[in-house]
């Protein structure tokens, strides 16, 4: 039961429970009210605790990739990148150039869809339903690009330890440019709708103000910390992938109130669009050479039995982008840490053996014994993974530093003494994601 025993006799106890439209379904705030003013509140989390860290100890490294999509399910690719890079740091693996650019491109697209969803929910809960529809329209364009590349709209599992699963589809530039143009149009509309909107300003300006020192004391990172004026971004502070080669700046707020959290996310989306465009221009060309007449796999196996298969092998459509020619550009690693290209698996016995060995129990991907902490800049802040490995093919212990865990920890202090109506924009601007908060 809620710990709230009533402080003063005539105060009202109210629960903004898990099944509440503005509580994203997974948080219960028990409020003690004097009229509409909040005297005390008790934030209760754990309604979406799905035992991720316990599952990590019972799955192999390769299987865990799908669980990382469901952590911060609004920007799944960034979790994938964080998880894969932690293992690469432990194994000392170097990802090829093109795969790094693809990872940055997809992470930034995922970050834009994260901010779009967060601001859509925040605006809708303050009554601006149009902004919700506009943002969802823009997100559909971005998800189309992500789906064309990774095969799934949201739960992508596209990143592999050592690179990415498949190359970008041939006419990705057209699709990405269209998505960027559409998103810019929607951002302009949303700026027009909300920036000088009296109702939105009254609901968010100077409400739930957070000072920089207090934010750091709470371990805030990401857009929420930057809205208080501290310019800490993992992409700039501890650059990874190719972020040090890209030009983008870090938007910073000045007052640290709800409006600044909104504005920092809007500015950050423009920076991400800039990064996406830079990635498009400076992406190293991939060396795919489409062979004209390829054999069907069955024919290739027959040919391999009798004599050397002179012609290439035509793969099934869903293996598009991971042909042998382009394999070196998108995936790096010895045959124990990655799956060999399908052409080798079909035609050579070594390929077949290393393919099955990768998936056999106890073989596959086995990083060396040791512990490592690596963090990427997620949608909500520093998404860190602390991994303890004992040399086997399952992590011994994997702990995730969830950025929104620390942001929501300050919710009680932010809403004390405010009105009920202020809880909604404050909670909306924090972008609490259940999967990441409760793991």
């Amino acid at each position: 039961m809620a710990r709230l025993d009533k402080e003063s006799p005539d105060s009202l106890l109210l629960q903004m429970g898990p099944s509440h439209p503005a509580m994203h379904g997974t948080i219960r705030i028990s409020l003690e009210l004097d009229g509409e003013r909040i005297l005390r509140s008790d934030v209760e989390v754990g309604y979406l605790h799905r035992g991720f860290e316990k599952t990590c100890e019972n799955r192999t490294y390769f299987n865990l990739l799908i669980y990382t999509d469901r952590l911060n399910y609004v920007s799944p690719l960034i979790n994938n990148v964080g998880y894969a890079m932690t293992i690469e740091k432990l194994m000392g693996l170097q990802v090829p150039e093109r795969a790094q650019f693809i990872r940055v491109l997809m992470s930034e697209l995922s970050r834009i869809s994260d901010h779009l969803t967060c601001l859509a929910a925040m605006a809708m809960e303050c009554g601006a339903f149009t902004v919700f529809l506009y943002n969802m329209k823009a997100r559909e364009f971005i998800w189309d690009v992500i789906e064309a590349t990774t095969g799934a709209r949201m739960t992508t599992s596209y990143i592999r330890v050592g690179g990415v699963r498949a190359d970008l589809h041939p006419d990705y530039r057209v699709a990405v440019r269209k998505a960027v143009a559409e998103t810019r149009k929607v951002l302009k509309d949303v700026h027009g709708l909300l920036d000088k909107n009296k109702i939105f300003l009254d609901r968010t300006r100077d409400i739930a103000v957070m000072t920089p020192e207090n934010a750091i004391a709470y371990g805030w990172t990401g857009p929420c910390l930057r809205s208080t004026g501290v310019a800490y971004d993992v992409r700039k502070a501890l650059p990874y992938l190719v972020y040090d080669r890209l030009r983008f700046d870090i938007p910073v707020g000045d007052r640290g109130d709800n409006f600044d959290r909104y504005m920092v996310r809007m500015r950050e989306m423009e920076q991400s669009l800039r990064i996406v465009e830079q990635c498009l221009d400076s992406l190293p060309p991939s060396s795919v050479t489409r062979a004209a007449d390829d054999l069907e796999p069955a024919e290739a196996i027959l040919a391999a039995r009798t004599k050397k298969p002179r012609r290439g092998i035509r793969l099934s459509p869903n293996l598009e982008g991971s042909e042998k020619a382009v394999y070196g550009d998108i995936l790096a690693g010895d045959n124990r840490s990655i799956v060999p290209p399908k052409e080798e698996t079909y035609t050579s016995i070594e390929g077949l053996i290393s393919h099955f060995q990768f998936f056999m129990k106890g073989h596959g991907l086995r990083p060396p014994k040791g512990e490592v902490y690596f963090s990427v800049e997620g949608g909500n802040g520093e998404l860190g993974i602390y991994l303890v490995s004992d040399g086997s093919d399952r992590p011994y212990r994997l702990h995730l530093r969830a950025p929104c865990f620390h942001v929501v920890a300050a919710l009680e202090e932010l809403i004390r003494g405010r009105m009920i109506a202020d809880v909604i924009p404050t909670f909306g601007s924090m972008n609490m994601i259940g999967g990441e908060l409760d793991r």
Partner: protein, 161 residues
Amino acid sequence: MISMPGHFVTTRFNHVLGWARKFSLFHYPYVTACCGMEYMSTACAHFDIDRFGAGMTRFSPRQSDLLLVVGTVTQKLAPVLKTVYDQMTEPKWVIAFGACAVSGGIYDNYAVVQGIDQIIPVDVFIPGCPPRPEMVLDGLLKLQDKIQKQEHDWRWKRRKP
């Protein structure tokens, strides 16, 4: 016309009632996890759920007749789901949206209820993790068929002796 028990008037009225209830579903989005993102796409302009008459989102079980359970239901959330289901008005239907609601999905551990039909009766199961919006709309159409063919209950209905 499927042969219905009871004489001509009740079958005719039953059909009309099924048609009326089928196209005016007020759904209560019991959203918890990742499927919520796909629910947002389904409910929004691109894949618009409103074309099927189910676009009216009600955030109180008192005013809704379709409980859309979207995402993972953990053991801690199970009593809440049961209470919300009990507090819904008759006639009510339940859709399990996504693999976690259908069967616990990829989370087979101490924290997650392995399928919400362990707690509440479910009418339509939509597989997928998350299901694509088209699959959700297909699930909704299946529910509407079920409502149309269902034996409806109303206040002055003469119960069989």
